[in-house]
Subunit: 521 residues, 2 copies
């Protein structure tokens, strides 16, 4: 078949792309169908979290498991593997700087290779257990009932261990889990980066504690009717470089963003009546994810390189819009007139500087998703450590609640009143997502590096924000990051977009400077 | 393999159902996965019509085509066919009155046999063309632009013809299309039933014309704010026998209902500010479909007999709740207090008899979905005739607009002002649904027969409605119709639920009596 592939490349007969072998068109079509299954699953997941009547939970778990099973069967099909092997040397030989074909076949090979190590029954069962676990978590969290949640947690950990053990034990047992969300990054690399970050945070957090009341959070607290919050959220999204008619925003318990198709981005947020900052910053955060998804070239959308695979880079986009744009002085100036319109009389006496300060209120707290820019990374450090111990074998599910509480005291200096505010606060473990948390801090690191690079190219970014010229920043990110989709491993994408490897220094510099100023006497 | 099947039946070894061969469990699991794909497609379709950002249309068409393609591949897989053949004689031999196994294998065989005649490329292309056609229709209808719609119409007709021609030309070329929506009913049967109905309607419609202003529609016309209509719709749904936490209602352009899973029913409606009857009766209508879907036993939900296959019976349920319950005198009495609450001062001076009369306003009109109980069936007669001619070869897509207008004049005595109010009013042909329309009149016929049977069992149904004891009627329908799911062909289900074959006489009697009284001098 290698020969017939070459022959059709020569004769250009019946091929979807001029001059390409028919096998390449077949590869693209097969991956397009796998992508359709994955995206259909994403829509089912979005629906489960935003729209689905609660009695539909069991049926939904089965549907998701079936989509996952079939996608996995297709990705691990022997004839697909043969096709990938046949196309390898042709793809590497295609002329031109672009090398799209080589990247496509290489990513296809990587995806298939990983998948072929995992039995289809395990993959389907992981999806089913995740869907059921998430439903059980949502119910048990309301009651802070760790005992009700524990069997699901145990099941998900057991499945994640079995998954990890499908791979060769070269490095750390946790490597394959991390690799699923941050391809090519080993546990040792993540430990080094997150360790540096954590050590660098120590003096910054200590400085916060010296003047704990330097910043007044009151302007964003009180009572904000949900309809007004929703109007504000939609106005903010209108300011951001999201393409028209291609997104929607819905409320959910645990905000997320999902790319359903080219031209179809789902954003979600959570409206809390007494805390406007929750919806405000979660909308900017999820929009960042959405802008990244929308920036994947349409032609790549259903191809092997169309599924964004580095959650670190994904999170860098959400953090950049949430923290670097949204929590800037310039953005407070943009935001204030809108706040005055949506919440009449509430913001009349407030100045932009006070709004800026309120948006940057920082203090050790219990809930990760409500944490400030500084202490957020301590929440991640805690989770990353616990995950590593779960997979090193020193820790079991039943001990997680107690360990969580002990380390929250150690890291953040606060007591956990109940498990709903402790180990049960996040959906991730309920949904079988182990290896995911560290990418949040990687995202913070990358966002800081991108910001420095953008400022070097575009000049004063605060001025750009003040002029509401956010499209300029969107285009820069599109050129540096988005257009590459998943063609490169994160380490290579870092070289291309940042010109250097990941480094926590810019983030630590920023946090030190910004919070040093805010939390001085 | 026949032998090993028998052996495991004897030894009861390793089987999912005690005493059943492993092959039966495999059959159920395979069909459960096919059902999951179908239902995932239903959710994608629901989302497309209620939630999806418009820029996502092309990606959605591809996703739907992929789900359809894979479902079709699985249903036509040779190993599934072998399994069905192996299980046939075992299933027929299973003891007990229930005969669920025999019904299950027989329905599985029927589904697989039909599917195996249709090439997978054709099935996927039909799904893709339907999704694109629907999007194009929605845009073109707004402009009444038949020329823009025509290529999609032509494409869908061409594909439907190719589909029909996949079957043996025993009877009418249209038979396989009708069979998809009303299994086992031939074109000749439908022609006979709908012909009788049409002839019986002639004197009733003529009588309407003698006193055209006998009924005043004004109480349900005027200005009704959409939020009030939505609250009313949700209150009405609360009265109906729909299980808790298992449904939701959303607005859409062309109301429909969809069963997504056991415990997950999606209802839709359309709110028109100046016509309350649109949302009012479409909600009751779609709820009827939803109650039927919810009545399928949970244990059958993902089995071959879990997908309701007779659209005639499906429509009988929607018509029964819309017309027989919703347009009754007793229901007007239930409804009026709610109308007074939701639309203050609007209904103060109105009596229940006036509301009853307004709900039954009848007059030839342009739009099928807004038509009254009497003339509705003329809209169906027109569409059925045109469809037959499309498949007999005497008519082409380009001539449809003109033919539509001519027959609207002949049947209904009115002129069509533009194609948006003519041939482009319905989504069906845009979505490739040929053979579907006649089931609407079959549903009207069956609803009348069911009503007579229910009255024979339950006594005065008006009293039941007046007492808001709608659950009693729901249980009767559950026992007579819903619990059977798709175990029987419609003709057999008619025998079981009605004790007799389909017959338009009860419907004609009802329409003659009811509208004779309403439209007398």
């Amino acid at each position: 078949m290698q020969d017939s592939t070459r022959m059709s490349a020569d004769t250009k007969a019946d091929s979807a792309v001029e001059g390409h072998p028919q096998g390449y068109a077949t590869l693209l079509e097969r991956f397009a169908q796998i992508s359709d299954l994955t995206r259909a699953g994403s829509l089912l997941g979005w629906d489960e979290r935003t729209m689905m009547p609660s009695a539909g939970a069991e049926g939904r778990a089965e549907q998701l498991a079936t989509l996952s099973r079939i996608g996995h069967e297709r990705l691990t099909d022997d004839s697909l593997w043969e096709l990938i092997e046949e196309l390898g040397s042709w793809a590497e030989s295609v002329q031109g700087d672009d090398r799209l074909e080589a990247d496509t076949v290489r990513v296809a090979r990587r995806e298939a290779e990983r998948a072929r190590r995992v039995p289809v029954e395990l993959r389907a069962e992981m999806t089913r257990a995740a869907s059921l676990g998430e439903t059980a978590w949502a119910a048990a969290r309301g009651e802070s009932d760790f005992a009700a949640y524990l069997p699901h947690l145990e099941r998900n950990i057991e499945l994640a261990r079995r998954y990890a053990d499908c791979f060769e034990p070269e490095g750390h047992r946790y490597d394959p889990l991390l690799d699923e969300y941050e391809p090519g990054m080993g546990t040792a690399d993540a430990r080094k980066l997150l360790g540096e970050l954590r050590r660098g945070l120590v003096p910054i957090v200590a400085a916060l504690a010296e003047h704990p009341d330097a910043v007044d959070p009151a302007p964003l607290q009180g009572s904000f009717d949900v309809a007004g919050q929703a109007r504000l959220a939609n106005r903010l999204l209108g300011l951001l470089p999201l393409p028209d008619s291609s997104w929607r925003l819905d409320p959910t318990a645990h905000p997320f963003a999902a790319g359903i198709a080219d031209g179809d981005i789902r954003l979600t947020t959570r409206y809390i009546e007494d805390d406007l900052s929750m919806s405000l910053f979660s909308v900017l955060h999820e929009a960042g994810h959405g802008i990244y998804e929308a920036g994947v070239p349409a032609a790549l959308s259903r191809s092997p390189v169309g599924q964004l695979s580095s959650l670190g880079f994904h999170e860098s986009q959400s953090r950049l819009w949430e923290n670097w744009v949204g929590r800037s002085r310039a953005f407070a100036g943009l935001l204030l007139p809108m706040l005055r319109e949506e919440f009449p009389s509430r913001f009349d006496a407030l100045g932009p500087e006070q709004l800026y300060r309120a948006a940057n209120y920082a203090r050790p707290s219990l809930i990760r998703v409500e944490a400030d820019e500084v202490t957020y990374n301590l929440h991640i450090a805690l989770r990353f450590e616990l995950e590593l111990e779960l997979f090193e074998g020193g820790l079991e599910a039943a001990d997680l609640a107690e360990e969580w509480n002990r380390r929250t005291h150690d890291y953040l200096g606060i007591e956990v009143p109940d498990d709903a505010h402790g180990v049960m606060q996040d959906v991730h473990w309920a949904a079988g997502l182990f290896g995911y948390f560290p990418t949040y801090s990687l995202g913070n690191i990358i966002a800081a590096q991108l910001w420095e690079a953008a400022a070097a190219d575009l000049g004063d970014l605060e001025q750009l924000i003040a002029a509401a010229e956010l499209a300029t920043l969107g285009e820069w990110l599109g050129d540096r990051v988005h257009r590459h989709a998943a063609r490169y491993l994160p380490a290579e994408l870092a070289e291309r977009s940042l010109g250097r490897p990941l480094d926590p220094t810019p983030l630590l510099r920023r946090l030190g400077d910004k919070y040093g100023e805010l939390y001085s006497a």
